[in-house]
Symmetry: D3
């Protein structure tokens, strides 16, 4: 089974964090490959940056999707996930989606814990898009500057443990979801210090991508994620324009 992890951020350091965490829980027979966005921002944190990243995601999937059994959108707000699910035939799972749905099996309500308040509005829209507000115990964010997204997980580990404990006591969370690509892999280091299950989204996404690949769902020909009819376009990347115009094989 071949899985493609797409990092829609342009930072390759994040790609490394994400793929290392994912590989740590992959099944033996799984082949994981990764790709980093060529355009966009080093680290997505807002609606507008997610919009830009979403287009990059579609171009990557149009080009590379057909080679894989499933794909992971490896940024917590799941940029472009709905568009990708609608356009392409292979199963696609989002980092946030995988983390939150996995958390649902470990408790009634999960807290989303992350390292910057800048992420809040985007994450909240992601939570609402997935219709999982009833399962959420809130979004808990550190309210401090950080130096470098490549090292933020280590630099802020102590503070994230404190914040997670606050989410448990004040937010009545049953599960902690460590959110944001820069935190990939952190769960293994802090889980002993938290009294509830901790979900690493990169790990969860790996397992959910494997699950979807194993179940081999048929691409929808009806419903709200059926592939749109062919359409002409102007000014798009050729591989995407071809795909939208149905001028190429389905992935």
């Amino acid at each position: 089974m071949r899985i493609l992890l797409i990092n829609p951020n342009t930072s390759t350091s994040l790609t490394t964090l994400l793929s290392n965490a994912a590989r740590g829980v992959a099944s033996e027979s799984t082949v994981l490959e990764e790709i980093t966005a060529a355009r966009g921002v080093p680290y997505i944190s807002t609606r507008s940056e997610a919009l830009l990243a979403g287009v990059e995601l579609l171009e990557i999937l149009a080009e590379r999707g057909p080679e894989y059994d499933a794909a992971i959108v490896a940024a917590f707000g799941d940029p472009g996930l709905g568009a990708a699910r609608e356009l392409f035939d292979l199963p696609v799972v989002g980092l946030a989606e995988a983390g939150m749905l996995t958390a649902c099996m470990l408790g009634k309500r999960f807290a989303i814990v992350t390292f910057s308040t800048a992420l809040g509005p985007w994450y909240r829209e992601c939570l609402e898009w997935h219709g999982l507000q009833d399962r959420s115990a809130g979004i808990f964010m550190l309210d401090e500057a950080f130096d470098d997204i490549a090292t933020v997980q280590g630099d802020k580990a102590e503070m994230l443990v404190v914040l997670s404990n606050r989410a448990i006591t004040e937010g009545e969370a049953d599960v902690i979801v460590l959110a944001g690509a820069p935190l990939a892999g952190l769960a293994q280091h802090v889980r002993e210090r938290l009294p509830v299950p901790v979900v690493d989204c990169a790990e969860a996404a790996m397992k959910q991508a494997e699950a979807l690949a194993s179940l081999r769902p048929a691409p929808p020909r009806a419903g709200t994620f059926r592939r749109p009819d062919p359409k002409s376009s102007i000014g798009l990347a050729p591989v995407l324009a071809d795909y939208i115009a149905h001028r190429c094989a389905t992935s």
Copy 2:
């Protein structure tokens, strides 16, 4: 007061329909200018097409926004509205948003009536993004092919009247919102034949854009629509990259 109507579809025929309807209700002192997307699809109807259109919207606003007192995103699903509101300082209103909020003052629940089932999933996400489900009586769609978006409003007028009446009797709608840029201007022709108020979204957007321009709200420096901190980027349109990097004046 200067208002910019941005048609995120690439069809200039739609731009004409939209601006004609908007001008019909504009205040005397309002100057309305319009612009048509240079890239994208002729007529947006899905999540993926809306994603592509959203990026085009941002580029247009980065380039043209500073000349205006308010802008209208003139496609019913409000592509890129949240991103635009976050990024730019001028008030921006969406076609769907304006139509739905105006409908709220005319009844308890409004029905969204449109000409194609292809639009349903995207419109529903738009409705949910605006948090107005409690005010909605449903999305009612014609389930037939159409020939040309430039003439669909005339070709399907009879069927849309029938469908609207069904929305009133079966959906218990108090108000009809005719949805989709290709229907701009239709309300004036069918309102006599419907027993409840009918909202033309282009008209509503014109009045709401004027209202926002009159109230001159300060751009948010806090809250979820505060402008993101400056960020570097790769591969974006230069005017947008400059804006995101705070290398230019605020609009």
Copy 3:
């Protein structure tokens, strides 16, 4: 275009505050006239007072409504709004409704900020009646006595700024809605000191009443706001009894 602002409180000082604020944003061609309730309480703050004010509103509209293109119910809880909308043909907009819907175009969630805890229960029912809870960041109230409703906005301006800032930081509000007729006009004085857009409900109501008057919606003959069938009555004000019995022209 002729707009009638109805102050359902019996205090003429409030009528002055309200009409001054409204006139400040009116279009050049708009004629605004105002009327103050002849019966009721100086300042409505509870459900029972709103009930009494609602009847007064209906009598005023039965008598004066036909002369105008739209009317404003100028008390934040929108007393009698649903009854008025059902009974009369002209568009009627509530102060709370206009403020909240306008706020929806400026952010995801608005905070209602007001000067007395006595108003909370009534305002909450108003918010719920409008089905806008998903857009609300809460109702924030000063918990102190005030001397005079005619001067409360000036007396409490500092405290309201502090409270609004708390609504932004603790309530995560994107927009501040200054609520209550006694605060009409205050927004202009405090907006520079708040980091998010501030909505003055009298201003918003002026613009929304103009919008409705421009759109000239047809009075509903179906839906939940269709005019009730003629009915006899006992003991009502003659002009209202005649209207309910369909013994007079529609407004």
Copy 4:
């Protein structure tokens, strides 16, 4: 224990129906007295009529309330209930409230079944005010003219049985709530013909009024139903004006 049944409709025939049904289930030691509105409409069916009836209710309670241990607002939409509960010290229960809460103990979801579509909008607002939408299986209404509210329950009994069965099969209702004062007493005649429990609201209100009177709850001095501070007023009925001004003993 002394209970006052207040019929806010002006039809004495309805008062008879209501009090007969209520007496049929009263405890031996209960004294039930009834009063009919002196002003208003013969039969309330809309928001505006309910508003007028609410004021009449307050006047009756200001005058007669102190003699009783509890009161019943005997119209299904519970006109003026919130205002009454806020203003007066004795427990007050609404016909709709009693019927719906009693139905909650007999099944998961109840259907509201009534004899005229004219009642729908008002009943829906009542349901929403009580926050019981999650327990509702819908409002089912006959869509036909009726001759006389005094005899409508007999004239339409067959059709109401058919409609109730539709509410059970199509609406998946566990309980039928026969709604509207003109249907008081009907449940006894049709219950054998319906396969789920049938709630007569006048019976339910009688038992709930007795329950409240037995429990003798203290009048709230805090919370959203605390009695408002004394206030001056203009033009109100003297007994009500005195009560609002705290110029009389608490009921």
Copy 5:
């Protein structure tokens, strides 16, 4: 009228508290009998303990139900209530259900106040099962160990008063529901010291059981609480197995 109070806890001291409180408000003609669970835990506080208690409840009702006009499940989380309502013909009311529904007639939102955080998760599921979240102001729990469930209400009375006042001021509760069988009877001792109505669930359950017995609802033959078709079983208590197999008269 004969009412059976079933204490699903195995502590007879709780049975005494519950039946004393219930008798204090019973109508003269009511005969109240009580029974204590023979199997299970002394005091139920979690989902798993409630599951075990639910089975005991079914066995008691299969054996004793037919002798009574109504039954009370006398533990706040209403263990087995849905199963009992589905299986048996007599009306059954839960302690939590009765307390919460009665509270609904005394205010908009009620706070559930109890003596141990251990009860929270179970109580919350109970609240959600009843679909009454919109009426809840939250669950407020003492966070301290207690010595003995037989005396906890006296030992913690002061602290529960403090906590209730916090629920009123911070939770904006209109009504206090003292929750948990060990608090039965406490309301009478503390009501003078709380500024809002206080509901004793055992009292409320007594009155609601009487109300249901008076209304004599027909057992449902349709809807979600219709009696299941006969079924064979293995290893159940014979009286319950017979009942499930329809080998005995309906209760």
Copy 6:
């Protein structure tokens, strides 16, 4: 990795269907073992039967749980799932839970499709317990008798395909969840004939149990699923009583 599939129905034919379907998608290194309830009913379809099955589940887990890395509750309504999750340390996943959460990654809204109306009330409570109503397109049930649960999936395959298509067109479902242990394995036979992805709950449960086992979540020591404090009990199965009293090692 060792997984225990617990069939809480007493029919071994169902155990075979379930374990065959699960094994079909298991990873190579997974060891799946199954156990059938010794007490209860052949096929659970109601709240009361689920209550009885829940106790059996707890006894099985107390006895066998410690040998496994994760367990599956293999009946669609997830009987006893919350109790098991609270009481035991190993991850436990429900058949319904796994099916619904997996479906969430394949579309916005899933339809639950099953073979008997008898299952509806229990399934609905399960859906609500999981807080997934916003993702549900409804529960679709065949309304016909069936001969034998061992063969119902074959006997009704055609009708279930028709019903699923109705769920897609009328219910606007994006995904079909075939619900009920007797339908385990059916998805493979009908997926070609349905235009949207079809989820087999036994397959989904297998993959989700593997995912949880791989992630090795720590047992909660806080939150609403923390293990209850030790408690004495009367009359329970000794292994369960010991577990509840903390007289044995944690599983």
